[in-house]
């Protein structure tokens, strides 16, 4: 057997699982000082199963799909057993516990490694695989986060476990919803639409003046790289504490990327295609709407995607400079001050979900409108 990542992982799983048998799982209970070797039956079962599956993986006896299913089940049973063993008033985790964590992790990695190696011609299967592997990865980040934070007793002020964050989200839905409305639905969405719209319109307006284009393009490129978010205090002074000042920051931040990208997009139609429109005696506006704007769509969508992130950042950061007592940025900065870190993480989780959904919606729209572009029709 050659030394591949796969064999290293299988051996790690085996050693980890065996370690669970040999070294103590817990050191010191809630009421006694005795060394607990087998406080949890589920962990014992997991250690046994892990040894078996790791051996199967090393010897390569089982058929591929069967082994994959076994690895998957055992790894996740292990995760369940490890997390539920953290539930009671247990003592400190001993090296045996971490040894089993390593075993579970190695098994999960083996699953990912085997799934990643699957080749499929079926489009649906490809899609599912493309989702399954990162989903597995994300889930194990959460599992390890939970185990490490609770296993090492990391104080919640530093890093709360995902379960605590989830519980916090469940209990503060009204607050989160109010913050979401204030920051996302008002500041971000309005600012985004106005900023992107203005960038697009200005790019089209100056399209006929090559002088303005040559003057604005370098400036637009430069401004796109500047820390524009710094205008936030000025906007707060000008437009007050409520959402209009945040929307103003978002407008300024999103304007230039859209301007620069649209200008580049409008210039991207090939000379031959422009000549073609000339031979039809097409007017400026006909050429614009039938050729140059469709040709610019991939660029425009690129700007829309960049701006979706910028808009969220702009609105949240602008709230650090003063807000009414609602909004995601406000909540983050005040709850950090009160050391309510789980609430901060709840806001961050919401920001992450909102950001991904926002981006995903734009990416989906892009697929609909630029289905013809090589970068999209290839995938």
């Amino acid at each position: 057997m050659t030394l591949t990542l796969r064999s290293v992982l299988a051996v790690a799983a085996l050693v980890g699982a065996l370690g669970g048998f040999i070294v103590p799982i817990e050191i010191g209970g809630a009421d006694t000082d005795r060394v607990m070797i087998w406080p949890h039956g589920a962990l014992l079962v997991f250690a046994g199963l892990a040894v078996l599956t790791a051996m199967a993986a090393i010897s390569d006896r089982l058929r591929g799909p069967l082994l994959l299913a076994a690895l998957f089940l055992v790894a996740h049973f292990g995760a369940y057993a490890l997390i539920s063993s953290l539930g009671d008033e247990a003592g400190k985790r001993g090296p045996g516990f971490w040894s089993l964590v390593v075993a579970a992790w190695a098994l999960a990695w083996l699953v990912a490694d085997r799934v990643a190696a699957i080749e499929s011609r079926d489009r649906l299967k490809q899609r599912l695989l493309a989702i399954a592997i990162p989903a597995l990865f994300g889930m194990w980040i959460l599992i390890l986060w939970e185990i490490i934070v609770r296993g090492f007793d990391i104080p919640a002020v530093l890093l709360p476990p995902p379960s605590a964050i989830g519980a916090r989200i469940a209990t503060s839905v009204p607050t989160l919803w109010a913050d979401f409305q204030q920051t996302i639905l008002k500041a971000v969405l309005i600012g985004y639409i106005l900023g992107c719209g203005a960038g697009l319109v200005v790019a089209i307006l100056i399209d006929r003046s090559s002088f303005l284009q040559r003057g604005l393009l370098p400036i637009g490129n430069l401004v796109s790289a500047l820390p524009i978010v710094g205008v936030a205090p000025i906007m707060v002074m000008w437009f007050g504490f409520d959402w209009p000042s945040k929307a103003a920051v978002v407008i300024i931040m999103t304007f230039f990327p859209m301007l620069v990208n649209t200008m580049a997009g409008l210039a991207s139609a090939s000379a031959m295609q422009r000549d073609l429109m000339k031979t039809y005696a097409a007017s400026y506006w006909q050429t614009l709407f039938k050729l140059r704007l469709p040709e610019a769509l991939p660029f425009i969508f690129n700007a829309l995607k960049i701006n979706s992130t910028l808009a969220l950042i702009g609105a949240i950061v602008a709230e650090f400079f003063g807000t009414p007592i609602v909004g995601m940025g406000f909540r983050i900065s005040t709850e950090v001050g009160r050391m309510n870190i789980d609430m901060v993480w709840a806001e961050i989780a919401m920001a992450a979900v909102a950001g991904s959904l926002f981006y995903g919606a734009i990416a989906l729209t892009e697929r609909v409108f630029t289905f013809w572009h090589p970068s999209i029709r290839g995938s």
């Binding site: 073609l276 031979t279 039809y280 006909q286 039938k290 630029t370 289905f371 013809w372």
Partner: protein, 272 residues
């Protein structure tokens, strides 16, 4: 000019679709002026198939672009259908086919063919009728709802010919339309193009750098030479109009091909 025309001249100028007199075109570049065309005189009459052939840089594409009003000559006069190229363009008197199909990837084949018709402002029924007719003319009737990138290169170029024909012009201007295709597809398309011209009696100006292609297709072959771009020789072909690919093995064909090659060689030696 009109005053000096005799009745027979007037008759001639009706047949005469393209009339080029003393046309020169000089591009100003950073490295000094480039004489793309110098003293071009050329008449093309209705129904002729004229090939422009010559080495790269001889101005054959530029000459075609001058006819299409994509370039303006520095000196000389040119009339297309008796009017200036600009007016001819506005009258939609020609269809232009480029080296590449230049189809819009976001439009279906049918929509691509309809593009010039939309710009002309034709109504929907007329557009659909013309799209159908011209797609069938190039054997693409079954592919109307496909997107260009789902078609082979040869089919794309046929679609672009259908697009040029949809304007229903008297004249086709073609700039190395089959240059990017492989020889087998090219032969096939050449044959089809010839049939199509017979059927529709269109005037064609065809830029190419392939001698067999020029001889096979043309009634008149214009051999050009480079630096400055000028006409070296004009060869009238006596081959029958209803030719097939077999004609390429006949002595007459080889004779004309020989003359064209001779002309190209002489034109080239001016450089040395």
């Amino acid at each position: 000019m009109l005053q000096r025309m005799t009745p027979s001249d007037a008759q001639n100028s009706l047949d005469r679709v393209i009339d080029i007199k003393g046309v020169s075109l000089t591009f100003e570049t950073n490295d000094g002026p480039v004489h793309a065309l110098a003293g071009i005189n050329l008449d093309i009459t209705q129904g002729e198939f004229v090939s422009l052939i010559g080495p790269s840089g001889c101005g054959k594409t530029t000459l075609l672009r001058v006819i299409a009003d994509l370039e303006r000559p520095t000196t000389g006069t040119i009339t297309v259908n008796g009017v200036s190229p600009r007016e001819a363009l506005l009258n939609r008197s020609y269809g232009y086919v480029f080296q590449a199909a230049a189809l819009y990837p976001w439009r279906t084949i049918a929509k691509n063919v309809a593009l010039p018709l939309e710009i002309m402002g034709l109504d929907r029924a007329e557009r659909e009728a013309r799209v159908k007719r011209n797609l069938e003319l190039v054997d693409l009737g079954d592919f109307a709802q496909k997107f260009p990138w789902q078609l082979s290169g040869g089919m794309q170029q046929r679609a672009s010919i259908a697009r040029a024909l949809a304007v229903e012009p008297g004249m086709l201007l073609m700039d190395e339309p089959f240059g990017a295709l492989d020889e087998i597809v090219r032969d096939h398309l050449n044959e089809q193009l010839l049939k199509l011209c017979d059927k529709t009696n269109k005037t064609v100006v065809f830029v190419t750098h392939s001698i067999p292609e020029a001889v096979f297709l043309s009634t008149k072959i214009v051999v050009m030479s480079a630096r400055p771009g000028q006409i070296h020789d004009i060869i009238e072909s006596e081959l029958p109009r209803d030719r097939t690919l077999d004609v390429r093995e006949t002595p007459e064909f080889l004779d004309i091909a020989h003359r064209v090659r001779q002309g190209l060689r002489e034109g080239h030696s001016y450089d040395a």
